[in-house]
Symmetry: C2
Subunit: 199 residues, 2 copies
C-alpha cells in the first residue's frame, strides 16, 4: 500500500503529462499537438516533459498504454471471449472492439500520422493492430470449431477480412465522413461480418 502511494505520488507529474496528451489529442481533431501544448496543459515547462519521456513517439506510445489502463480494455475484450457459440463470440468481439475505437481515436490518429516519419510510433501502432488481429483470429477459430465458417473461406483469409472490417480507418470513414452513428456502425459491422464470414 505504501509502495502504491509512493509510486503514485512519484508519477504524479508523469500522469499529468499523459492526461494532458490524451485530452489534447482528443480535443484538437488534428494531430498538430506540439510538445509545448502538452507541457502547458500539464503545467510544466516544455523541457520537463523530456525528464519523463525520451521523445514524442515514446510519449504517444505511453499514452496509449495509459488509456488502455484507465479504460480497461483487457477486461472488456475478456468478456467477449467468454461467449461460447462461435457466432455469439464474433458478435461480442465486434461490439467490444468497435465500441473501444472511439475512445482511442484521438491517439490512434496521431500515431497513424506519425507512422511514416517515426519508427517508434509505427511499431507501437502495428503492435496494437496485431493484438486486434489476434482477437479476430480467435473469433474466427471459434467460428470454425462450430462449423459456422463460410464454405471455401480459409481461417487466414477470414481473419484478414474481419481485421480489415474492424480497422480504425474504416470506423473513421463511416462514422466521421459518412455520418453513421456509433450504434449504426456496430449494427452494420455485425451484419456485414455475418454476411461475409458465417455460412
Amino acid at each position: 500500500m505504501l509502495l502504491y502511494i509512493m509510486s503514485s505520488e512519484k508519477n504524479e507529474t508523469r500522469n499529468r503529462i499523459l492526461k494532458a496528451t490524451w485530452e489534447l489529442l482528443e480535443s484538437k481533431d488534428g494531430a498538430d499537438v506540439r510538445m509545448i501544448d502538452i507541457a502547458r496543459k500539464a503545467d510544466i515547462s516544455r523541457q520537463a516533459v523530456y525528464l519523463h519521456f525520451e521523445n514524442r513517439g515514446d510519449l504517444l506510445v505511453a499514452t496509449t498504454r495509459y488509456i488502455d489502463d484507465i479504460k480497461n480494455v483487457e477486461e472488456r475484450l475478456r468478456k467477449s471471449r467468454q461467449a461460447k457459440a462461435g457466432t455469439e463470440r464474433l458478435l461480442a468481439y465486434i461490439e467490444a472492439w468497435g465500441n473501444y475505437i472511439p475512445e482511442i481515436y484521438g491517439v490512434a490518429k496521431a500515431l497513424i500520422a506519425l507512422r511514416p516519419v517515426d519508427g517508434d510510433a509505427s511499431r507501437a501502432w502495428d503492435d496494437r493492430m496485431d493484438a486486434v488481429r489476434d482477437g479476430c483470429e480467435a473469433a474466427i477459430k471459434a467460428l470454425q470449431k462450430d462449423h459456422k465458417l463460410l464454405d471455401g473461406l480459409s481461417p487466414k483469409v477470414a481473419t484478414d477480412i474481419l481485421w480489415m472490417l474492424l480497422s480504425v480507418p474504416n470506423w473513421e470513414l463511416l462514422t466521421q465522413r459518412c455520418g453513421w452513428s456509433q450504434k449504426a456502425y456496430i449494427k452494420h459491422m455485425k451484419a456485414q461480418a455475418m454476411r461475409l464470414l458465417v455460412g
Copy 2:
C-alpha cells in the same frame, strides 16, 4: 502542333519535377521525401522547385493529376460505366478502381500522411476520394435500377459500404500487411461486394 511543342518544351522542367516526385514517393516506401530530394532527382536547385509549385502540398496535388493523366484513369473508369447490367457494372468498377490503387499508392500514402498537417493536401485527397464515392454511388444506382440491391439496404448506406470496401487503407492492409496478391484482392473484393450489396 507548334503550340503543343512549345508548351511541352516550356513545361519540361515542371514535368521532370513531377516525374521525380512520383518516382521518389513510389520507391521510398516512407513519406519522408523532402523537397531537396525531389530537386536533386530532377537535377535542379531546391529553390527552383518553388518556381513551378507554390508549396509541398501543391506539388503533391499536381503529382496526382500528372499520374492520372499518364495512367489515363478517366479512360479506365469510363469503360466500367459502359457495362449495362447492374452487377456487371459493379464488378467492372471494382476491377477498374481496384487495379488503379497500386499505381497511385505511393502518392496516396504521402498525401494521407500530410493530411493532419496540411490543409491543401487534405482537400486534395478528400476530393479524390469524393470522386471515388461518386463512382460507387453510380454503381449502386445501377444496381438499384436492376432491383438487385440487397433488401433493406438504402442506396446511401450501400454506397458508404462500397466506398469503405474500396478504400486505399483497406487495399494497403490486405495487400501490404496480409500479403494478398493484387489478383486475390480483386477477386475477394468482388466476392465481398456481391455478398454485402447484391441480393
